[in-house]
C-alpha cells in the first residue's frame, strides 16, 4: 500500500512536470539531430536529418522553423525519392503556416507527389490548399473526380464556385455621388442610412446658417465636418465592400471545408 502511494505520487509529479520535460526533450532532440547533421558527410543522410528536424518542428506546431530546415536541404544533392518527400513536407508546412498559395503551387506542380502520397493527409492538404487559395473551380472538379459516393457527388455539384462579390471601387463611386448609397450597395443598409442622415443634416445645417447670414458658422461647423464625413464615407463604403467580400469568401470556404471533411474520412 505504501509503495503504491509512493508510485502514484511519483507518477502525479511526473505528469505535472510533463510539459516542461517534453519541451526540454524537444530542444535536446533538436540539438542531437543537429549534432548528427554536423558529423555526417553524406548529402542524403544530411537531408534525412534535416527532414527529421522539420518533422519535429512540425510536431511542436512551428511550421515556419520547419520550412527553414527544409530550405537548408537545397544545398545537398539527393535522390528523387527524397526530393519528393521534402517537397511534400514543404507543401504541408506551408499549409500549416497558412501560406496556402505556396502550398498549392508545390502540390499542383508535382503530380508525382500523388503517387507517393495517396493518403488522406495528402488529399486533405491538396483540397484545402485549393480551397484556401480560392481556386474553387479546380477544387470542385477534383472533389468530383475523387468522390465515389453519388450522394456526396450531388452535394458537391450544388456547390457554388463564385461568391457574391461587391466591387469596392463601385461602392466608393456611388458614395461620391450620393453619400450613404455606397454603404447600402455594400450590404450595410443601416450604416448607409446613418451616413445619409449625417450628410443631409450637415448640408441642412450649413444651408440654414448661410440663409440666415451666419456664413462663418455655416462654413466652420457645417462645411468642414461635411467634408470630413464625405471623405470618411467614401473610405467606409470601400472598407465595407471589402469586409462583405471577405465574409462571403469565408462562408464559401467553410462550405467547401465541410464537404472536404465529409469526403475524406
Amino acid at each position: 500500500m505504501k509503495y503504491l502511494i509512493i508510485i502514484l505520487l511519483t507518477l502525479i509529479s511526473w505528469s505535472s512536470k510533463a510539459q516542461w520535460i517534453s519541451d526540454t526533450a524537444v530542444t535536446q532532440k533538436l540539438l542531437s539531430l543537429e549534432m548528427c547533421f554536423w558529423k555526417l558527410t553524406d548529402d542524403s543522410s544530411k537531408a534525412v536529418v534535416l527532414l527529421d528536424k522539420a518533422e519535429l518542428y512540425k510536431s511542436v506546431n512551428m511550421p515556419e522553423q520547419a520550412l527553414v530546415e527544409l530550405e537548408r536541404t537545397k544545398k545537398y544533392s539527393i535522390n528523387p525519392q527524397l526530393t519528393l518527400l521534402i517537397k511534400y513536407e514543404k507543401a504541408l508546412n506551408y499549409f500549416l503556416a497558412a501560406k496556402y498559395n505556396s502550398s498549392k503551387e508545390i502540390i499542383l506542380s508535382s503530380s508525382e507527389l500523388a503517387l507517393i502520397h495517396k493518403t488522406g493527409e495528402y488529399q486533405l492538404v491538396r483540397f484545402q490548399s485549393l480551397n484556401e487559395s480560392e481556386e474553387w473551380d479546380e477544387c470542385k472538379q477534383e472533389l468530383l473526380a475523387f468522390c465515389s459516393d453519388t450522394l456526396k457527388a450531388l452535394q458537391i455539384q450544388q456547390l457554388a464556385t463564385v461568391y457574391n462579390y461587391k466591387d469596392p471601387e463601385k461602392c466608393r463611386r456611388l458614395s461620391t455621388i450620393i453619400p450613404g448609397f455606397g454603404e447600402i450597395k455594400a450590404g450595410y443598409p443601416m450604416k448607409g442610412v446613418t451616413s445619409f442622415l449625417i450628410h443631409s443634416g450637415l448640408i441642412f445645417f450649413t444651408g440654414y446658417n448661410f440663409y440666415y447670414s451666419f456664413y462663418l458658422t455655416g462654413a466652420i461647423s457645417g462645411g468642414l465636418p461635411f467634408l470630413k464625413f464625405y471623405d470618411g464615407g467614401k473610405r467606409l463604403s470601400e472598407n465595407l465592400a471589402e469586409e462583405h467580400n471577405q465574409k462571403e469568401k469565408n462562408k464559401l470556404k467553410k462550405k467547401y471545408t465541410e464537404i472536404i471533411n465529409q469526403v475524406i474520412p
Binding site: L9, K17, Q19, D23, T24, K191
Partner: protein
C-alpha cells in the same frame, strides 16, 4: 522509514532540480505565433468610484456614442497608438473631468500629420509607426 522518505523525496525532487525554469520552446512558439492584434483602445475599467459625477457620466456616454456611431462614419485613422476618444475616456478617468477635457482638446489639436513631425523618437512605437501618448504621461505629482 527515514531512508524510504529520503528516497521518495529524492525521486520527486529530481524533476524540479533540473527542469527548465523557462520553457524555451513555449516562449519561442508564442513569439513566432504572435499576431499583432489591433490595439483595442478601450479605456481601463474604472476601479471604483466613491461618488458618481453626472458630468463625467455624460461625457462617457457622449464618447461612447461617438465611438460606436460617428467614428465609423469618419473612418479616419488616428496618428497615435491610443486613439483620441480613448485618450479622452482615460484622461477623464485618471485626471478628472476638467483636466481630462482640456488635455483631450489639446490632443485633438495635435492629432494631424503636421504636428506629428515633432514627436520625439523615443515616443514612436516602431511596430505600428504611431506615436505613444497616454494620460499617465501628464501626471507630474507622484
Amino acid at each position: 522509514m527515514g531512508i524510504r522518505i529520503c528516497f521518495f523525496l529524492f525521486f520527486l525532487s529530481g524533476f524540479s532540480l533540473h527542469a527548465q525554469n523557462t520553457n524555451d520552446i513555449g516562449l519561442i512558439r508564442k513569439h513566432i505565433n504572435f499576431i499583432e492584434s489591433e490595439i483595442t483602445n478601450t479605456g481601463n475599467k474604472i476601479k471604483s468610484q466613491k461618488s458618481i459625477n453626472p458630468l463625467k457620466e455624460i461625457s462617457f456616454v457622449l464618447l461612447f456614442f461617438y465611438q460606436k456611431i460617428i467614428s465609423e462614419q469618419l473612418s479616419a485613422g488616428c496618428e497615435f497608438d491610443l486613439s483620441c476618444s480613448n485618450f479622452g475616456v482615460r484622461s477623464i478617468k485618471e485626471l478628472g473631468l476638467i483636466k481630462g477635457i482640456c488635455l483631450t482638446t489639446d490632443r485633438l489639436m495635435r492629432c494631424n500629420g503636421l504636428a506629428q513631425l515633432e514627436t520625439e523618437n523615443y515616443l514612436i512605437n516602431h511596430t505600428t509607426g504611431k506615436a505613444i501618448d497616454e494620460p499617465s504621461m501628464y501626471r507630474f505629482k507622484n
